[in-house]
Amino acid sequence: MSVNLKPPADVTQILRDWSGGDDNASARLMPLVYEELRRLARNYLRRERSDHTLQATALVHEAYVRLVDARNVDWQGRAHFFRTAAKLMRRILVHHARAHNAAKRGGLEQKLSLDEARAVPCETVVDLVALDGVLESFAETYPRKSEVVELKFFGGLATKEISEVLQVSEKTVLRDWSFAKLWLHNALRDGS
């Protein structure tokens, strides 16, 4: 398994370009962050669950620390990074959840299943694919609130960080979050 780190300078530079108005920067950033997030997520799962520091820190943070030379990036670059990373996390996770659902329905047969385990749907876990769908309609009416959800749920950011990224008060973030939870929960329930 490759553990090669892309040189941090790349990401840092991209973020600075972006802050400087380079619209292609986001497209260049995506694959780098994507790779790192994927790698981290796999690594995360292999570690001890009792590793509290990791539980407290979201993957996005870890990716940020690894990829970005923080001294050379202003808050705007940082906000860009978190926004991008949260979107990417959302995309990665939803993509995999979708692939997984397809496999569960018998779409992927190349692996001989030795076990019936996967035939049992996992009831306790949020259906990420469905959530992604309702979050999209939520964003149409409540764009900022949906971004709070993206940053918090997919990006794992804390309230304070979200307030920095979105440039709103922490109280607003909390209010947005409490409303979004109700709305999304309702929408998911009505949808199923």
């Binding site: 799962l45 959840a97 299943s113 109700l182 309702n186």
Partner: protein
């Protein structure tokens, strides 16, 4: 309002409402929404789900999706070296993780290399694997896939290396070869024998299912993953999240036993259950339970609650099954017996299941019977005896296996006088000894609560086990001590205190020889021996032993552990029995604390330690303190494991007695009746506790003045008591005396007189002359004679009864006052001459 604007208003209102308490929402919205009913409805609809939202999306998504995410892409590539193994190809992915075909570069053979899925793979897994490795690797049966080893990949992923089995799932194999009924049963019996073999080597599979049973080209079944489930469970049972993931991602509930679903202890009977389900499917082509969905919860509920449809009925709905009628009768009964909800009512071993199938195949009568409701209730007692005896037979077989293994080890030691080898052997023995004990305890512990009274067969099996342990383990005093200690505890748990004492003495002797005095086994043996002596009224001897056990445990574990808690309990009980409640109280208080800390506040030991402390307080005259403790014990008892319900019965009985003395007759009556019912439920209709409680109940009625009911209870009690206790015992004499006096008060003194005379005569023989009970009986007989107007005869009894009571109890005592009252009554009609 525009739609967008309206949406903002809804959000605004909901958010503001959420900042106040739900009971204020209504007023708040009445004010804000005014007459806009549609707006109000939108807000209400969102707020209504407030209760259900809970933790929804509070946990970050990557954590939620972790499982899915990690399963993407294989860990190892072809040609990669893992330890001594070269990966050849990925052959599959199971609940546990990826499985690779690999080559052992040293031995050149092909092996299966199983990676443990990240969510399950904790660092500790590999430690526990090494702990169990020798035992698992020691499973040497042609139908069990060998375990070669295990380790950790450079990336930190734990893996197991197993015999590579090129085979087909058993169900697929049977279908593809269109095996007929006879051949299916023949194949299945081989599976049973492999499971039975593993059980005799103290390994429970815990995850038997068709995908773990492969059939080779030669048609031989091979069982995979023996003992692996236990390792995974041990390592994942720590965190809730992990357990959820484990359950959702790994466990296939279809073959899990009810006790496994409930998270209770698993025994060999759990494997028997899984075998039953597998056989069900092999015979009928369908699953045993009808569920609407394949949801985990629903399947789990079916397993714990639903009775499976008879295999023959299921098969008749399946056109593929050729002759469904052939399943009727024996095979229905055999499958359903293996699948019974209560472990103790299944076949006790895979061997017995196999044996019944053999009998069926040979046209002999089988042991499985149809499980009807009438049968379930009427044969309750007998059935449990059989189950217990069967469980003990299994235990005995295991014991025999252990002895053989030890003998072998001893031989090996003699032959190869190498220090390292010795260490290895010694370590293995210890390991074996620990395992056998856990196994025996689980087995016997599960069986013990169902024992009805004294069952001669159980006693026989136990005494055989004890005899062999002592005869054949003479060279292994360390192991012998452990085994005898377990046997001793088992005897206590079924109420056979004399053999308990014998075994525990032998255990103590062996442990002293092997381990010296300052050793946990020695100290445990002492404590439990103390308890056995307490039960036999030998507290004079039991008390110093238990006290020494406490001293030893304190030295062994200065901070105090569960053993110290139990030792303190044993000591405290002896102190009470010796009449030293003042010394007992702090001892039992400490026992209560330690037991709560180490066993938890829902454990049966905690319950009984509370009761014991209550007894001490009561003996010290602190009746209120005792009452609180009894009530707390009863509280604990409501949720206690079935095997400890007997302690609930005890606490309830003690509370009833205490309430009687307090004069709270109506609750006393209720509690005593509860206790009586509990004892009947736990021990069956005929048990020695029932008449004792009837005696207590009779006393409540007597004190209330309801003599008719009292007579009835005392008669019932007496009839049963004589079956359990010798004629000169305290209980029998109490019943006779009380019945005699009750009849006197009912106006039938002539009928009561013989009971009173018998009670008095025997008591004069067995009791000390100054015993208050003696004077009490004298007064009662005097009252009886007075009622018959036989004044001259009554006088000496009444006089002596009063004088003795006054001398021994004092003038203010209730008994003395009552005696004086009776004497006055005599004087009124028959003045002193």
């Amino acid at each position: 309002m525009q739609a967008a604007e309206r949406a903002q208003v809804v959000a605004e209102l909901v958010e503001s409402a959420l900042e106040s308490e739900p009971n204020r929402w209504s007023a708040f919205l009445d004010e804000k929404c005014g007459g806009d009913a549609a707006l109000r409805a939108d807000v209400d609809r969102l707020l209504r789900s407030h209760d259900q939202v809970g933790d929804f999306i509070e946990e970050p998504a990557y954590q939620v999706a972790a499982e899915i995410f990690a399963g993407d892409g294989s860990e190892l590539g072809a040609g990669q070296l893992v330890g001594d193994y070269r990966v050849l190809s990925l052959v599959g992915e199971g609940g546990m993780g990826e499985v690779y075909l690999a080559e052992d570069t040293k031995l050149g053979r092909k092996v299966a290399l199983k990676l443990v899925k990240p969510g399950l793979g904790r660092a500790n897994l590999i430690h526990s694997f090494h702990r169990e490795e020798r035992i698992l690797a020691g499973l040497n049966d042609p139908h069990i896939a060998r375990l070669y080893g295990g380790g950790v990949t450079p990336d930190g992923v734990p893996y197991f290396v197993m015999e590579y089995v090129d085979g087909e799932r058993v169900d697929a194999y049977c279908d593809r070869h269109q095996l007929n009924l006879h051949d299916r049963l023949y194949l299945f019996r081989k599976i049973c024998s492999a499971v039975a073999y593993a059980h005799q080597h103290l390994v429970i599979h815990r995850d038997l299912k068709p995908s773990n049973i492969r059939v080779t080209k030669e048609g031989e079944p091979k069982l995979l993953d023996f003992g692996i489930a236990k390792l995974l469970e041990d390592e994942t049972a720590t965190g809730l999240t992990e357990r959820t993931i484990t359950l959702a991602g790994v466990m296939t509930p279809d073959y899990a036993s009810p006790e496994q679903i409930r998270g209770e202890a698993m025994t060999t009977a759990s494997d028997v259950y899984s075998l039953g389900v597998i056989l069900y499917e092999l015979l009928t082509g369908s699953k045993p339970y009808r569920t609407k969905s394949r949801r985990l919860e629903e399947i789990s509920r079916a397993i714990t609650e639903q009775e499976p449809v008879r295999p023959s009925a299921t098969a008749s709905n399946n056109p593929k099954i050729q002759n469904p009628k052939s399943l009727r009768g024996d095979l229905d009964n055999i499958v359903l017996m293996a699948m019974r909800k209560e472990p103790s009512r299944r076949y006790a071993s895979a061997g017995q299941l196999s044996e019944d199938l053999r009998r069926h195949l040979e046209g002999l009568p089988v042991t499985a019977r149809k499980d009807t409701i009438a049968y379930r209730t009427s044969k309750f007692v007998a059935r449990n005896r059989i189950a217990v005896a069967a469980a003990l037979l299994v235990a005995l077989a295991i014991l025999a296996g252990l002895i053989a293994a030890l003998w072998e080890a001893e031989n090996a030691r003699r032959q190869r006088d190498v220090a390292q080898r010795e260490r290895y052997v010694a370590q293995r023995e210890r390991l074996k000894a620990q395992r056998i004990n856990t196994f025996l305890q689980e087995m016997l512990g599960a069986a013990a609560p169902d024992v009805k009274g004294v069952d001669i067969k159980v006693a026989d099996v136990l005494s055989e086990a004890s005899r062999r342990a002592r005869a054949e383990m003479a060279n292994q005093p360390e192991v012998m001590a452990e085994v005898l200690l377990t046997l001793g505890r088992t005897y206590i748990s079924i109420g056979l205190y004399e053999p308990a004492e014998v075994n525990l003495r032998a255990a103590l002797e062996a442990s002293l020889k092997a381990n010296g005095e300052l050793h946990p086994t020695t100290a445990r043996s002492m404590a439990v021996l103390g308890l056995a002596l307490f039960f036999q009224d030998k507290a004079t001897e039991g008390e110093p032993l238990a006290r020494r056990a406490v001293e030893l445990q304190r030295t062994l574990s200065p901070e105090g552990n569960e053993d110290l808690g139990v030792a303190l309990y044993c000591w405290g009980m002896n102190l009470i029995r010796k009449g030293e409640p003042k010394a007992a109280e702090p001892v039992l208080a400490e026992a209560v604390e330690l037991i709560r800390k180490h066993f938890g506040d829902t454990h049966g030991y905690y319950l009984t330690s509370l009761t014991a402390l209550g007894l001490a307080r009561k003996a010290l005259g602190n009746v209120d303190g005792a009452e609180i403790l009894y009530r707390r014990a009863i509280e604990v008892g409501r949720g206690v494991e079935p095997r400890y319900r007997i302690y609930l019965a005890q606490a309830t009985g003690y509370l009833g007695e205490l309430l009687t003395n307090k004069g709270a007759y109506s609750e006393a009556e209720q509690r005593l009746t509860e206790a009586e019912t509990l004892y009947r439920e736990i021990l069956g209709d005929i048990n020695s506790n029932t008449p004792i409680l009837q005696l207590d109940l009779g006393r409540v009625y007597f004190l209330k003045g309801d003599y008719a009911k009292a007579e009835m209870k005392y008669r019932e009690a007496l009839a049963l008591l004589v079956k359990f206790f010798p004629p000169e015992s305290f209980y029998v004499l109490s019943a006779k005396g009380a019945l005699g006096l009750t009849l006197t008060r009912l106006g039938k003194p002539a009928e009561g007189e013989p009971y009173l005379r018998e009670a008095l005569q025997t008591r004069q023989k067995v009791l000390a002359p100054d015993s208050p009970v003696l004077s009490l009986t004298e007064t009662a007989l005097g009252e009886c004679l007075l009622a018959q107007k036989r004044y001259a005869e009554a006088e000496p009894f009444l006089l002596h009864g009063y004088e003795e009571a006054k001398a021994n109890l004092g003038e203010k005592n209730a008994q003395t006052i009552e005696a004086l009252k009776q004497l006055h009554a005599l004087r009124e009609v028959w003045p002193k001459r």
